[in-house]
């Protein structure tokens, strides 16, 4: 059946770069382990199952360079294996403990499958989870794009040199990781200003995603709203997020993830179980923490202590209802748009990948069900990847998008406010120093140690610019760690630049930093120079 319209799904997978080889157990590294087990591997499994059944997923995935680097980091891989083995050991004990409770043991078996599958897939790909994604892209089943080097909010980078460095480093990183040039660029937090166009084009990107008001309140006020792609004056294509489809999937309050049958995120065995029983699975400091084993459902508006046990069958039945509802709404949307505007609309749904599985446990099953139902129910709608859409769509209308983001209130408030603004003088000043030093040394013949120090300083500056640090401070989660990371990277960069200027590079310290902050192996400090090699 020919389609009346298209669905374009973009899952943005990103975690801040957290790598602490100097410590055996580091709390914030758990973000990565949880992300792998609960989101990235379940999503790979969903995609593999669909392909095996002859269904082309046709979605786009953005993998941030920081996440990509962590997925390839052998040190983190070892810790990940240890994390999974510890969970499997605990699950074995839980299977025995809950043997006489059929409801509870059913959920424990579910976790046994989840962690067992994670161990299998990691073994199958020798710990390299980029490989299956690369294979899926190579076969044309999905499209993988990238984002800025360390997920910085680009409109908050005061220096054009920093913009160029963040964008150009990500293009190189993508090429090295996926053996091809990247076409698509996910603007971190959909944050856009007009300066970005130049540097995105210079690095060879063809399209970006923006928030809906970037398009709806642009100078051209386009009649097709967010249901078509557009083009900026310098020829960069853009898609805008559709609010309706995002809200249904995204919102815990109004959307599907808040359904009573779904798994409750905040009730966790790490807080419920007898302390001595779970102590071996806590961190070195022995503080209770989430262990990822969550046995309760959202239930409804009740206290956490009153949550009912989770029933996976009931949750999966709800997934089916929600997938059908989601598609019925999209069909209605498409019919209405077709009738009103006479176009074949594209509905762009952009979501953080970690919503699927980590936060919304049933999210991967929802995604699978939505994709399968289009085939099963012969719906006149199809999933398209951005490149496919651009190759088959009419000539886009040219617009000047508005400055915007998808953050709270639609602009930059979450990243610039009283809780986090103290970082900017440090981040911007060290960026200034990096640019000045790059300008001074860009045309010089450099010793190996000097070159390494300058390249490492560039890595540290990029890491200081990450959006994750101010965001964590804003939400009041791991604020001290986030502030410490800004200080650490700014100090590292500053020290390295001073050592270069004073011709006394401490190679021991440099080696340690290269080992710890080891992303962007090909990074060239000259990306920060005011007149670049481009």
């Amino acid at each position: 059946m020919s389609s009346k319209g298209s669905l374009l799904f973009l899952l943005h997978a990103h975690l801040p770069y957290v790598n602490h080889p100097e410590q055996d157990d580091f709390l914030e590294e758990n973000w990565f382990f949880e992300g792998v087990v609960e989101t990235y591997i379940p999503l790979i499994s969903v995609l593999d199952r669909l392909v095996r059944d002859g269904i082309r997923p046709g979605i786009a995935i953005s993998i941030s360079p920081t996440l990509g680097a962590m997925l390839e980091n052998e040190h983190l891989e070892k810790k990940l294996n240890r994390y999974i083995n510890a969970r499997l050991e605990l699950i074995e004990k839980e299977l025995v403990r809950t043997e006489s409770d059929p409801v509870l043991s059913k959920t424990v078996r579910l976790y046994a499958r989840l962690y067992g599958e994670a161990a299998e897939i990691i073994h199958k790909y020798s710990g390299d989870l980029i490989t299956p994604l690369k294979q899926l892209q190579h076969a044309g089943h999905i499209e993988i794009i990238t984002t800025s080097a360390t997920h910085s909010i680009l409109p908050l980078l005061a220096h054009p040199e920093a913009l160029r460095a963040q964008i150009a480093a990500s293009a190189e990183d993508y090429f090295d990781r996926f053996n091809r040039k990247a076409s698509g660029f996910w603007l971190p937090e959909c944050a856009y200003d007009a300066r970005l166009q130049t540097y995105l084009k210079l690095s060879g990107f063809k399209y970006i995603f923006t928030e809906s008001h970037a398009v709806n309140f642009s100078d051209a006020a386009p009649k097709n709203g967010v249901y078509a792609s557009y083009r900026t004056p310098n020829g960069l294509n853009l898609f805008a997020r559709d609010a309706d489809s995002s809200k249904e999937v995204w919102s815990a309050k109004f959307g599907y993830p808040g359904a009573p049958a779904y798994r409750e995120f905040y009730r966790d065995l790490g807080y419920d179980a007898d302390y001595e029983y779970i102590k071996p699975y806590l961190g070195a400091d022995g503080t209770r923490r989430s262990l990822g084993l969550k046995y309760h459902s959202i239930t409804g508006a009740v206290d956490l202590s009153e949550k009912l046990y989770y029933d996976s069958d009931e949750a999966l039945a709800t997934v089916e209802l929600h997938a059908a509802d989601f598609l019925a709404r999209r069909m209605k949307q498409i019919d209405e748009l077709h009738a009103a505007k006479g176009v074949r609309p594209v509905i762009v749904g952009c979501y953080d990948a970690e919503l699927f599985g980590h936060w919304w446990f049933e999210g991967p099953a929802f995604l699978e069900s939505v994709i399968r139902k289009i085939r099963q129910d012969r719906l006149p709608i199809q999933f398209v990847t951005p490149e496919e859409y651009l190759n088959s769509s009419p000539e886009p209308v040219e617009i000047n998008p508005q400055v915007s983001s998808w953050g709270e209130n639609g602009y930059f408030d979450p990243w610039v406010n009283e809780s986090n603004d103290f970082i900017y003088p440090k981040v911007l000043a060290v960026t200034d120093r990096m640019i000045e030093t790059a300008n001074r040394f860009r045309n010089q013949d450099l010793s190996t140690a000097t070159l390494r120090a300058l390249n490492q300083a560039a890595r540290e500056v990029l890491l200081a610019q990450s959006s994750d640090w101010p965001f964590l401070m804003y939400i009041g989660s791991h604020s001290q760690y986030a502030a410490g990371r800004v200080d650490e990277h700014a100090a590292n960069a500053s020290r390295l630049l001073s050592e270069v200027l004073e011709k006394r590079v401490d190679e021991k310290n440099l080696g340690d930093l290269e080992k710890k902050n080891s992303l962007f192996p090909r990074l060239d400090f000259r990306l920060f120079a005011s007149v670049s090699k481009f």
Binding site: I298, V403, E408, D421, I475
Partner: protein
């Protein structure tokens, strides 16, 4: 309005960041030499931060701050324009010296509240608190 003198180049820095249509963030750092000048009362401690539209110098707003504050939020005179911020201090002669000038930054325009699909972003989902939904 203040009396301007020539821009004094230095390693001191000022930066301007957009926040939302109604607010920009300005922060500044002083070199030790400049900080010493303030401490020695070569300048009055109260500085003046002036926000000026790049394409229309008549569009401006001003605010006072202590030289040590290091930051300031200001309301731009109009939305959707590109601005720079300049920091002035009154010297012993009583005239305002322009000590710092920031980068240029574009500010957004307000979209009607109902048109903002944002708020269903990661900020909301990740802020879901531990109380029942």
């Amino acid at each position: 309005m203040t009396n301007e003198t020539a821009f004094i180049p230095s390693n001191d820095k000022a930066y301007l960041l957009p926040k939302n249509p109604a607010e920009v963030f300005i922060c500044w750092t002083w070199s030790s030499a400049r900080a010493e000048a303030f401490t020695a009362q070569l300048f009055e401690p109260q500085i003046l931060v002036r926000l000026t539209a790049v394409d229309d110098k008549a569009l401006l707003s001003e605010a006072a701050a202590d030289w040590r504050a290091g930051k300031l939020y200001m309301k731009p005179p109009a939305e959707g324009r590109t601005y720079t911020a300049a920091v002035y201090a009154r010297n012993r002669d009583g005239s305002q010296e322009k000590l710092l000038e920031s980068n240029a930054a574009a500010t957004p325009v307000s979209a009607p509240r109902q048109a903002l699909s944002a708020g269903y972003s990661s900020a909301e989902f990740f802020r879901k608190d531990a109380t029942p939904i």
